[in-house]
Subunit: 354 residues, 2 copies
């Protein structure tokens, strides 16, 4: 009995969890036999709470708001084996620091693809059909003085001939988004069929072959272009790349000036990729039909009088891209299975290749 | 010369136009050789203006807000041949009165199918993903106190297994809407594929054959049901039927009570089909996930404190269903070509079969 207890105890690790992960995921954690130290609330814990509690932990479950850097790694100490993030993005990680210490990283790819693609299309439709202005008419009680008329609140159509759909970053979520949008455009076999352009940070020797494969897969001409071509040609431009030193502030004044006057810009990736001041100025000038942002630089500290919140041509959502019950449930499940596998030295369901 | 002038004059008819139809359509009218009396503004003319000016007219172009009844027909007199409406719906017509006088009716089907279907999907996504609440968080400056958390503002997913999409009325716009929505669901060949139920006012002896054809066409089981089955089975319920005595108030308390608790209700047809008081009560009780209305009973006289405008689970748009530049341009074109063909006794591009 003593020996068995000791064996069990030897396998028992400390896992720190920085947010309530929901009933199913918390039950899985609490019945794992490990020591679970959880901040079981919907608001983030203080940094002080995190740093104090990670000491001696083998695993940590974090959110986007929790910076994973030397400070956290040193507070945890040499016991730390795995950091599991409840996100597909990992811009809150100091990847070099994590790599240097040989710590494994779990993340939640794929399970949120459909939800984020849904949000991207939602924002495309809201921006093109001028929903911000339309909602204001109703909510401010101006509808009685703004009766239906033939050209009231008209916006550009997704069925426009030869629509060009552009993606800044062309991973799995972009593919899901493109497939949805193609159900709204001219048919793929029409003479006025849409086409797709995208940027990719990866330079590959067989680019033509890759584009041929995409073209066959999506049924519309699809090709990799440079960022300035993407800006110039896109009628609908969707940002779906990672945030890193190369993409931070990439959509700036110069980029926006190259865009078509009736194009829409959608950001469902990370806020700092877009220069908010430049976007507000572009919308103010009537350059661009509209914008749809699920993310914005400085979030969540965005006041009601932020110029992009005030502009009815700009839709600002509070980062709900993956907020479907199915996706968030799957993310919680994957986040916990990653941390458990990590502390137990097993293969993780979704480990980031460092 | 005199003879030619007289011939031309004999063919010259009076056409009254109740709203600015845009540059292209107004140019076509003004260069038609007919006498054009137009209320060239974006707001509706007074009823008095219409009744006074239609006297002696051969054709009239009307909008949804202009009632076409005995009053108007008698004010026009026996010269009236055609009333051309800038809409696909014709609930503003007293069809019996028009028919009794042998007056032809032009309308604008098909050219708005894509735009209205886009609006239907837009409202489905907004209602399911709780965009009303999300926008309030940002616009009221509550985002800093409402940081990202795993289950904040989560809504049901279109990828849920065995999703049932329901249509009250299953004409061309419903078909376009279904095709778009199927790009968001589980794949058609998945074991958890979606299915479609619909109601139709037409009872047909070969119903099974028709449903087999729909099933083959859309790639998912599609069947006609009674209204109470539609209410009970639909996860997404979209109203796309005509307004008439049978459909007025059809979505009432009894209907809403049968609906699933996490379903969404979308109205892109006509406001009076839904009982607003019953819908507000259902949403207030938390019965239904949300609603998306492009139309509402009593529009445009909807104050800012209307219970459905105040409820963040209900999206209310000011009847912009067909408001894409392409659709509205095509509607104006069709409206004018209908009235010209009507006054000239020719075949109309889109004549309503009475």
């Amino acid at each position: 009995m003593g020996g068995l207890s000791q064996t069990k105890s030897a396998g028992k690790r400390k896992i720190v969890v920085c947010r309530d992960l929901g009933k199913d995921a918390m039950t899985m954690l609490n019945s794992s036999g490990h020591e679970i130290v959880a901040w079981e609330r919907d608001t983030p814990p203080s940094r002080e709470w995190v740093l104090r509690n990670v000491n001696g932990a083998s695993g940590v479950c974090v959110m986007m708001a929790d910076a994973v850097n030397d400070e956290l790694l040193e507070a945890a100490g040499p016991s730390l084996k795995i950091v599991s993030t409840f996100s597909v993005g990992y811009d809150h990680f100091d990847i070099a620091a994590v790599k240097a210490k040989g710590i494994r990283v779990g993340y939640t790819p794929n399970v949120l693809n459909d939800s984020v693609a849904d949000t991207a299309v939602l924002l495309v439709l809201m921006a093109m059909r001028r929903v911000g202005e339309a909602l204001q008419v109703v909510q401010e009680g101006r509808w009685p003085q703004t009766p239906w008329s033939p050209f009231l609140l008209t916006g550009p159509a997704l069925t426009r001939p030869s629509l060009t759909i552009g993606f800044l970053g062309f991973g799995r979520i972009s593919h899901c988004t493109l497939e949805r949008l193609l159900a709204f455009t001219q048919p793929r076999d029409s003479p006025h069929h849409p086409s797709c352009v995208y940027t990719s940070s990866r330079i590959r020797s067989n680019q033509q072959e890759i584009d041929n494969e995409y073209t066959a897969r999506f049924g519309v001409p699809t090709r990799r272009v440079e960022a300035d071509v993407l800006a110039r040609e896109s009628d609908v431009l969707i940002i779906l790349c990672s945030l890193n030193e190369d993409t931070k502030g990439m959509v700036n004044e110069t980029f926006l000036e190259k865009m078509k006057r009736d194009a829409v810009l959608i950001n469902v990736a990370r806020g700092p990729i877009v220069d908010s001041v430049a976007l507000a100025a572009a919308l103010e000038k009537g350059h661009l039909c509209g914008a749809g942002l699920d993310v914005i630089d400085g979030e969540p500290n965005i006041p009601a009088n932020h110029p992009l919140v005030l502009n009815p041509r700009c839709i600002v959502l509070p980062h709900i891209g993956s907020a479907s019950d199915m996706s968030r449930g799957s993310m919680a499940d994957l986040c916990v299975r990653n941390v458990l596998a990590g502390v137990e030295g097993k293969e993780m369901p979704a480990e980031l290749g460092l």
